[in-house]
């Protein structure tokens, strides 16, 4: 007894449990169990990577990828996209004046309009994006600068926003709602689209402003404190973000379902973009029930209420019209990538084939020991 306990102590480690010699008194062979696992003889597959064995994989990958790539490329090419830069950086631009004079402090909106022509009609639903370049919405401190509890309608967070919102947490002694830098820098240009008939009349194109945000954002993540009714009361004792012209409960007075924190433009903005050049869904142009294209080819005018200054960081503002396919917006990259990778695989497969034929003879084992 004593002996075994001493030994156990000396061996003392993880394994002594396994070695199982602590059981004093029981005369038991120490012979290890003969199980496949313990003897490390589990049935196994041992792939050997040689030109010969790997070869088929390369061809198969090549053969699969190239068609996929072609398919993707074609799909992407079928997507129609039109883009207008309305930053007004250039002196010839329509919005040059607005861009030049505008800053966050301006009170009067500046209007400008950009005419453009669509060469091809846009079928099905058309998505209208605004795009910003050089805007680092992914800046670390920027991304953090929000209070999700507040946006989720939490009253205490409304009154006492998270510290992360600093320095956009309070203004004039009152908590800012919504707090933080993201909200503060909300994109506030207004874009309107007019189709110019062949006879010159401007027809406003109906822009649907609902359904542009994620459903979960709109219904779960963002909530107004105390429901959607009577937002004024709910947001009393809060202050609007510094850069905002109007308080949060006034974002879309026309529709209480799209006001306050659950304003979809706001929600879309709050989803911080991954890259400094990004676009955000602005409006949707619904496909008409008739067979006419959603946006027939022809002349259009984009009316801009120029509120958002980007010159300070050399930013760019764009309006993008795009149809989408099952794989999202226009992006030929993926197709090209598939084709490229597939081709490389195919090429490498050929190389391996050559190698295999030239050198891979020793797999026939006969000459291994020679």
């Amino acid at each position: 007894m004593m002996a075994s306990s001493y030994n156990a102590k000396e061996e003392d480690g993880h394994h002594s449990g396994a070695s199982n010699n602590g059981g004093a008194g029981v005369v038991k062979s120490k012979k290890p169990d003969n199980t496949a696992f313990k003897q490390q003889r589990l049935p196994a597959w041992q792939p050997i990577l040689t030109a010969g064995t790997v070869l088929p994989a390369f061809f198969v990958i090549g053969l699969i990828f190239i068609p996929i790539g072609i398919g993707l490329y074609v799909t992407s090419n079928n997507i129609k996209e039109y883009e207008i830069d309305y930053t007004g950086a250039d002196i010839n631009d329509a919005c040059y004046n607005c861009a030049k004079n505008f800053s966050w402090n301006s009170t009067t909106p500046c209007l400008c309009s950009v005419p453009f022509t669509l060469e091809q009609p846009f079928e099905s639903n058309v998505f209208m994006y605004y795009g910003l370049s050089n805007f680092y919405q992914n800046h670390r401190r920027y991304v953090k600068s929000r209070d999700d509890s507040q946006l989720n309608g939490d009253r205490s967070a409304l009154k006492n926003p998270s510290k992360e919102c600093e320095p956009y947490r309070t203004s004039e002694g009152k908590p800012i709602a919504p707090c933080g830098a993201i909200a503060n820098s909300l994109f506030n240009d207004t874009l309107e689209l007019y189709h110019i008939d062949s006879n010159g009349t401007r027809n406003a194109i109906p822009l649907v402003k609902k359904g542009i945000a994620w459903w979960t954002d709109k219904h779960v993540k963002f909530r107004n404190p105390g429901g959607n009714s009577n937002l004024t009361v709910a947001f009393q004792d809060t202050s609007k973000p510094v850069n905002w012209r109007k308080p949060v409960f006034d974002l879309d007075p026309s529709d209480p379902e799209n006001n306050g924190f659950i304003n979809e433009d706001f929600i879309v903005w709050m989803r911080t973009a991954a890259l400094p050049t990004f676009r955000k869904l602005y409006r949707i142009i619904q496909k008409k029930p008739s067979t006419t294209p959603t946006l027939p080819s022809g002349k259009y005018v984009l009316e801009i209420t120029y509120n958002y200054p980007v010159r300070s960081f050399d930013g760019r503002k764009r309006m993008i019209l795009s149809t989408i396919s099952w794989m999202g917006g226009k992006n030929p990259f993926l197709g090209i990538a598939y084709i490229t990778v597939g081709s490389i695989c195919f090429f490498l497969g050929v190389v391996l084939l050559i190698i295999h034929h030239k050198y891979d003879t020793r797999n026939n084992s006969a000459d291994i020991p020679s």
């Binding site: 993880h14 041992q46 040689t50 999700d148 991954a274 960081f313 084992s365």
Partner: protein
């Protein structure tokens, strides 16, 4: 454990006193010993309260933990924080808590066992109750009296005061302490010795003064101070140690001296060892590089951020948020802050889970090694133990193996083989035959169902069995039943009987000798009968008698009866204690008694012995029966039907089964041998040895002293009073080298002189046969001499200071002027499979050195037997006598390089080793040793062993493994990188010190070749993968910095970032790291060459780290930019974009792991799918769990949305493919174009087993013969191994390896990548014609062509004139430091056996034609014309590389500077023209030989040459290998071969 020790140390520091005083504690008053530790033991590290701080403190010793905590804490600083601070703590806390839980569990187990032990019962004397009462162990205190009963375990270190044993002895089993299974005797303190009545604690009034607690089990000193003022010395023999078991003693009483943690057992109790493995060291370098990369990345991004901030100038963009304080950050400040932030973000680069994972994997590996059935030894029911948990992979990288010989390579089961008595050799042929039978039966190893019936195994049954074998009549089962299975059973039965395998027990006596013994016994009986003094016995018979007496008496063997192995056989004839005091001596040896009482006393004692026939058969004691028996046996022998047995007739079972428990196997073997001559030891008491003799019956020798064996003296002696002659006789038994020096000077008589000479001859012969030799000598002391010696001895015994030294000196004084009786040859059989193991280890590129304490000839022969030395090898023997002589002082010479090329074996003896290990010479020694294929160090002390290991390890920067079984190997085992202990016969010390304990040597093969290889390759791959994985993952975030203004933002959700390592990607690599097998175990064992991949660290080279890093960066680029472009200019948000990237990274990493996985089992598949599903499950749950938490990422519903996005799937297909394409392609190309040997091995695995076997067999044949030409540059250029270019050195090592390896047609270093610039042209790999890679023409492996030896005049050795060393210049002596001889025992020179001088005086080499004995390499000879030797000028004879010498003109050596070739071959130095350098090189003798494995016996005839008797001691001694003397014989044999 360490803590405990520290505490101990701390405590002992507090007390300034050097000794401890123990007073009696009987329970009444204040315990006077209360300041000593009590007997409660606590081996736990922690208490409930101290656990957390203490454990954390310990964990923070690991730098990585501190680093991660620091980073986590950094998160709490708002300016720089990157993640939610609490979250950032999670991984660190997780890691810390996993370790903490592990520690806690271990500690709990310890606690439980502590409690169990603390609550054991023992009897403690209570003064209040005046009796012994039951107490818990923990209540025992120092000073308590304890009563011990039989089979009780000692609760503390107890001083033995009383024993129920009539001899006042207490028997102990110390297996728990040292693993030795024999009984130890402990004696009652002397002053209590004569206590007749029961010991009464109340009467004890002494004060015990003894040394402080220490961990030396074999030392205890102190004294009892009685009230009377008398002192009584205490020895280790009085101390019973905690943990031992009391045996054979009904009751004993003692006083507690050390309790609890201060007991020797506890102080010896060290925890498992922690070593850093080579791989981990290598890894740490790369961890450091990771830190550098991390800092560079941070710095780069910080500068980028500074610039980014700077470019905006005063116009602050809306997205550049002010710091929380609202302050604007200047670019520089922002950059500094960002730097810190990024350290947090990129922390993943330093793999936090790496250390934990490595530990887990290692534990699993240890588990599997443990579980391997092939490492289980059925005979001893023991399996491999891994005692060190964290160096499994070092097993796969070992380059040098240092092995002990005895007990490691051999069984350490000593078998008496032959002996020589009084100069007559008794060859014991029958004995040899018997052993051959054992071997034969051994060899057909099959499992046998244990036959029913009697389990009793006695010698008659074995005899029967062997007879049956001889006649080849038996059925198989019968035969096996007879010996092997029987032996096995017997060994199991007698498990606790040390050293008594059946082989040892059965000795077949030599008929001739038996006759003489009988004759002698008869004569003595006759003489006694007629009242003649026994001394009139013819001297040869007397010698025989004395010889067997010595064998029987001169030992420490304990006799026990087999029925109760622990029951001491008692045959007390007269009660007398050993001489302990002068008075005692005077009393006992008063002249009156000596003169008058001698005959009567002896006869009376004989009478008693005869009358007391207990335990011995009447048959044997009757001379007539004896002689008939002898006749019977002779007849039997003559018939040849069976080897005669000493017990041809049935004996009474009792007697036949006396068991001998010896401390060393030699002793047991000798005692059994003596028993075979019916000179059997029947009882041993501390003061008396009882011997049963054929005609005389029982004789009891009064044992006056036992001077135990020690490794310095290399001998043991007993002083007895001979019952027949009544003389005081010293019997000494010891190593021949020492005994021969102690023999009385030869002038005493021609007979003795001749005897010594003859014996020496036989000894050499034995040694040549690989037998262990022992010399037996005796000495008769006159009373006066004895008295004189005794006085000083007693002084020494009672001394407290320096007692050991005094006793040692005393022993030296006694053991002089001995009279040689004879010598014995004991065989130590090789363990099963040793030659095969050595061969395959060597094929695996391991350098095997054998370090043994045995004498040179024995060692060399065992080395041949176990294939360590090869007959084809040149043997370089270094025997030197002085410092200077070992190497010439001239510095490095280019020619030393030439040594590399040959297959050389180096034999060096202990004395030379001592010089060679000197600082100034060690480099040279190493240079020579390294160029040799095998090295054999004989006569080395434990310290030398460890020094050699240390030297090789430190200087050559190689991985060393030391394997040994005995206490003398402990230091070596501890010094080596990997220490392996053989849990064999010699106790557990080696095992305790080792990292791995094996039951047998042959298991080393699988342990190294398979488990070592696997462990290494698994771990190396896992570590590389870890680095890759983390780098790849972090690089993703790094690339992102370019797109977020270097703001430290991460698109990967913080949860993924933090838990990626820990949860999502950890499991599969753990599985792969644990289970992956690059090559199957079978192939690894059949192709040992594959082991070299581990030796050369081929799985984990520095460039691989960098390649992995580059690959990681490439893959992360792919994983980053494919999604980048796919989502460019879209409305994707940070984390919806980051999640696919994470997914892609995970998939890529897993597929990468898949590519690197060599063996797929369901576990791998399961773990990978588990990982993927875990990731999706977790992220789905996480993304659905809380819409407003997890700021700032807030990934609510992202994953769900992604799963609806076809783009996501498209990416998931494309990205991993694109990312892994290069690696996959590279692997495929590499597998085809330049596969590593390991890959070839894997291909072999694939083949059907039969084909594979054929191929491997073929390969095996090749492996033996194929020798590659070794490029010159690879050979040892610089003799100083610490030369600046390590690579070069490695290359040199390879070169040595290369001669052995590669039956595979592929270079092992098949250059994967540029840093290893050895890409073979692909065509090279084409099958070569067979034999292509041998540089030598076939047939050149044969020992050597006759031409080599021919020129030598036959009988070359004889004509040498004696004393022909005179021509040497007198200056020869100068280099020898004066006083060099001192260490040699006095009289060393004079008494040299003169016979040795005659055949071969020192310096005998001159007359021989120069150059005939150079160590020519075997392959060297072909090109030379036969008879080439004569014309060669002197000095030509360094070994040159093969093929090197054709172009050389014979005289091309002249320009060489003299003295350039360090390991001079002998014969070199005497040449007249070289006198000047001869000064330096003179004693260096390196002799070569054409070794033919069965060496003729005569060749050992001229081993160590003695010094001439004059003052020539200064002269260098020529200790040369014997081969010159035997050359002719060897040659004839070679000729026959040719």
């Amino acid at each position: 454990m360490r803590i405990t020790e520290r505490r101990q140390r701390g405590r002992s520091k507090k007390k300034p006193k050097e000794t401890r005083t123990v007073r009696v504690h009987t329970g009444h008053e204040h315990n006077p010993n209360r300041h000593y530790a009590n007997n409660r033991i606590k081996t736990t590290k922690y208490t409930v309260l101290s656990f957390l701080p203490k454990n954390l403190f310990e964990q923070f010793h690991r730098f990585a933990n501190v680093y991660f905590v620091f980073i986590a804490l950094l998160n709490f600083v708002p300016v720089v924080n990157a993640f939610q601070p609490e979250l950032a703590l999670a991984p660190v806390v997780f890691i810390l808590s996993v370790t903490a839980i592990k520690d806690l569990w271990e500690d709990y187990r310890r606690h439980r066992s502590d409690t169990e032990i603390n609550h054991m019962d023992c009897l403690v004397y209570s003064r209040a109750e005046r009796r012994y009462v039951e107490r818990f162990w923990k209540e025992v205190q120092v000073g308590d009296f304890i009563r011990l009963r039989c089979n009780e375990i000692l609760p503390a270190d107890v001083l033995l005061l009383s024993s129920s044993d009539p001899d006042r002895l207490c028997h102990l089993e110390t297996a728990t302490l040292d693993g030795e299974t024999n009984l130890k005797q402990r004696q009652v303190v002397r002053s209590f010795f004569d206590l007749d009545c029961e010991f009464d604690p109340l009467k004890f009034n002494g004060i015990i003064e003894c040394e402080k607690p220490n961990n030396d089990l074999n030392r205890f000193r102190g004294y009892i101070l009685h009230r009377s003022g008398s002192r009584d010395a205490l020895y280790k023999d009085n101390l019973l140690l905690r943990g031992c078991t009391v045996r054979n003693t009904e009751e004993a009483v003692g006083i507690v001296i050390y309790a609890g943690h201060e007991t020797k057992a506890m102080l010896n109790n060290n925890g498992p060892r922690y070593k850093r493995s080579k791989l981990e060291r290598q890894m740490n370098v790369h961890v450091f590089w990771c830190v550098v990369i991390l800092l560079l990345m941070c710095l780069f991004a910080a500068i980028g951020h500074g610039l980014w901030v700077f470019q905006y100038g005063d116009k602050r963009p809306v997205f550049d948020v002010l710091s929380p304080e609202g302050a604007e950050l200047s670019p520089v400040v922002a950059a500094v802050y960002l730097f810190l932030t990024l350290i947090i973000v990129f922390q993943v680069l330093i793999p936090i889970s790496l250390f934990v994972s490595i530990e887990i994997v290692k534990v699993c590996q240890v588990f599997f090694i443990h579980q391997d059935q092939d490492l289980y030894d059925e005979d001893s029911d023991s399996r491999l133990q891994c005692r060190a948990l964290n160096i499994t992979e070092d097993l796969g990288q070992t380059q040098y193996v240092f092995s002990d010989k005895t007990g490691t390579l051999t069984e350490n089961k000593m078998v008496f083989r032959r002996c020589t008595v009084a100069g007559v050799e008794y060859s014991h042929d029958a004995n040899a035959r018997r052993l051959a039978l054992y071997q034969e039966v051994d060899s057909e190893e099959e499992e046998v169902p244990p036959p029913g019936g009697s389990l009793r195994r006695d010698s008659s049954s074995s005899q029967q069995s062997s007879r049956v074998v001889l006649r080849s009549l038996s059925t198989k089962t019968h035969r096996r039943t007879g010996s092997r299975a029987d032996a096995k059973r017997a060994s199991i039965l007698s498990k606790h009987t040390a050293f008594s395998s059946p082989m040892e027990k059965d000795v077949t006596p030599d008929p001739q000798l038996l006759d003489k013994v009988n004759e002698c016994g008869g004569q003595m009986d006759f003489m006694r009968f007629h009242g003649q003094p026994v001394s009139q016995l013819p001297s040869d018979l007397a010698d025989i008698m004395d010889f067997f007496m010595a064998l029987t008496v001169c030992n420490t063997v304990v006799v026990s009866s087999p029925n109760q192995p622990r029951q001491k056989v008692r045959m007390r004839l007269e009660s007398k204690s050993p001489v302990k005091t002068i008075e005692d001596f005077i009393k006992r040896f008063t002249p009156s008694r000596l003169t008058s009482g001698s005959s009567s006393s002896s006869s009376s004692s004989l009478a008693t012995s005869r009358s007391s026939n207990r335990g011995c058969s009447g048959l044997l004691s009757s001379p007539s029966a004896e002689s008939t028996l002898a006749k019977l046996q002779e007849e039997q022998a003559a018939l040849g039907s069976a080897p005669p047995r000493y017990d041809g007739t049935p004996r009474s079972p009792e007697d036949g089964e006396l068991r001998y428990e010896a401390e060393s196997p030699d002793e047991a073997a000798l005692v059994y041998a003596a028993r075979a001559y019916k000179c059997s030891l029947v009882g041993r008491l501390p003061d008396q040895v009882t011997v049963e003799l054929p005609h005389l019956g029982k004789l009891s020798f009064e044992l006056l002293h036992t001077l135990g064996f020690d490794s310095t003296r290399k001998r043991m002696s007993v002083v007895v009073r001979h019952p027949l002659t009544d003389q005081i006789t010293v019997y000494t038994k010891g190593a021949d080298s020492v005994i021969m020096d102690l023999i009385k000077p030869p002038d005493t008589g021609r007979r003795q002189k001749k005897l010594v000479l003859r014996t020496q001859n036989y000894l050499n012969l034995y040694a040549a046969d690989g037998l262990r030799t022992l010399c037996i000598a005796k000495k008769v002391l006159s009373k006066e001499q004895y008295a004189c010696w005794l006085q000083r001895h007693l002084e020494a015994e009672t001394a407290i200071q320096g007692r050991e030294e005094l006793l040692f000196d005393s022993a030296l004084r006694l053991e002089t002027n001995l009279q040689l009786l004879g010598a014995t040859g004991i065989e130590d059989r090789l363990q099963d499979g040793v030659p095969e193991t050595i061969a395959s280890l060597r094929q695996a590129g391991l350098q095997i050195w054998v370090l043994t304490g045995d004498k040179q000839e024995t060692a060399v022969n065992v080395a041949y037997a176990c294939k360590l030395l090869d007959p084809e090898e040149e043997i370089l023997t270094l025997n030197a006598d002085s410092h200077v002589s070992v190497y010439p002082p001239s510095s490095s010479s280019p020619h030393s390089a030439a040594f590399t090329v040959h297959r050389l074996g180096l034999v060096i003896d202990g004395r030379t080793l001592a010089y060679a290990l000197d600082q100034s010479l060690e480099d040279r020694f190493l240079a020579v040793a390294r160029s040799c294929r095998s090295v054999l160090c004989c006569r080395s002390t434990p310290l030398q062993k460890s020094t050699v290991v240390k030297l090789v390890r430190n200087k050559l920067k190689v991985m060393t493994l030391a394997i040994g079984d005995g206490a003398n190997d402990v230091s070596m085992i501890q010094v080596a990188d990997v220490g392996v202990g053989i849990s064999g016969q010699e106790g557990m010390q080696a095992v305790m010190a080792s990292d791995f304990a094996l039951p047998r040597f042959r298991y080393l093969q699988k342990l190294l070749l398979v488990h070592g290889h696997w462990s290494y390759s698994r771990l190396a791959n896992m570590i590389l993968f870890f680095f890759y994985k983390n780098a790849m993952f972090v690089a993703l975030v790094f690339w992102y910095q370019f797109y977020c203004g270097f703001s430290g933002s991460a698109m990967i959700d913080q949860w993924y970032l933090i838990f990626f390592n820990l949860m999502f990607s950890a499991f599969p690599q753990l599985v792969t790291g644990t289970l992956d097998k690059d090559v199957s175990a079978e192939t690894l064992q059949q192709l040992p060459q594959l082991y070299m991949s581990g030796q050369n660290s081929e799985e984990y080279k520095p460039y691989m780290f960098w390649m992995n890093m580059i690959d990681a960066f490439y893959q992360s680029l792919v994983c980053f930019f494919i999604p980048y472009f796919a989502y460019a200019d879209s409305d994707v948000d940070v984390f919806t974009w980051g999640t696919p990237i994470t997914t892609l990274a995970l998939l890529t990493i897993l597929v990468h792991l898949g590519i690197e996985t060599r063996t797929w089992t369901w576990m791998n598949c399961l773990s990978i799918s588990f990982s993927v599903s875990l990731f999706f499950t977790v992220s789905l749950c996480y993304n659905a769990s809380c819409p407003s938490c997890f700021s700032p990422s807030n990934p609510y519903w992202s994953m769900q949305r992604l799963l609806q996005d076809p783009l996501f799937y498209l990416l998931c297909v494309l990205t991993p493919v694109a990312a892994l394409l290069p690696r996959y392609f590279y692997r495929a190309c590499q597998g085809t174009l330049f596969p590593s040997p390991v890959q070839v091995g894997r291909q072999l695995d694939k083949l059907p087993s039969e084909t594979r076997r054929n191929i491997l067999n073929l390969g095996g044949v090749e492996a033996g013969s194929a020798v590659r030409p070794v490029p010159h540059f690879l050979s040892l250029g610089t003799p100083s191994p610490e030369g600046p270019d390590e690579n070069h050195q490695r290359a040199g090592l390879h070169a040595v390896d290369a001669t052995e390896k590669d039956t595979l047609p592929y270079t092992k270093d098949a250059a994967k990548l540029p840093p290893e610039p050895r890409p073979r042209p692909p065509g090279d790999a084409e099958p070569r014609p067979p034999g292509d890679d041998e540089p030598r023409p076939p047939g050149d492996d044969e020992p050597r062509p006759p031409g080599d030896d021919e020129p030598r005049p036959p009988g070359d050795d004889e004509p040498r004139p004696p004393g022909d060393d005179e021509p040497r210049p007198p200056g020869d002596d100068e280099p020898r430091p004066p006083g060099d001889d001192e260490p040699r025992p006095p009289g060393d020179d004079e008494p040299r056996p003169p016979g040795d001088d005659e055949p071969r005086p020192p310096g005998d080499d001159e007359p021989r034609p120069p150059g005939d004995d150079e160590p020519w390499p075997p392959g060297d000879d072909e090109p030379r014309p036969p008879g080439d030797d004569e014309p060669r000028p002197p000095g030509d004879d360094e070994p040159r590389p093969p093929g090197d010498d054709e172009p050389r003109p014979p005289g091309d050596d002249e320009p060489r500077p003299p003295g350039d070739d360090e390991p001079r071959p002998p014969g070199d130095d005497e040449r007249p023209h070289e006198t000047s350098e001869a000064l330096k090189t003179s004693a260096m003798s390196a002799s070569s030989r054409a070794a033919s494995s069965p060496r003729p016996p005569s060749q050992a005839a001229s081993v160590q040459l003695p010094l001439p008797p004059d003052g020539d001691a200064q002269r260098v001694r020529y200790c040369r290998n014997s081969d010159h003397a035997v050359r002719p014989a060897a040659r004839t044999q070679t000729d026959a071969v040719l």
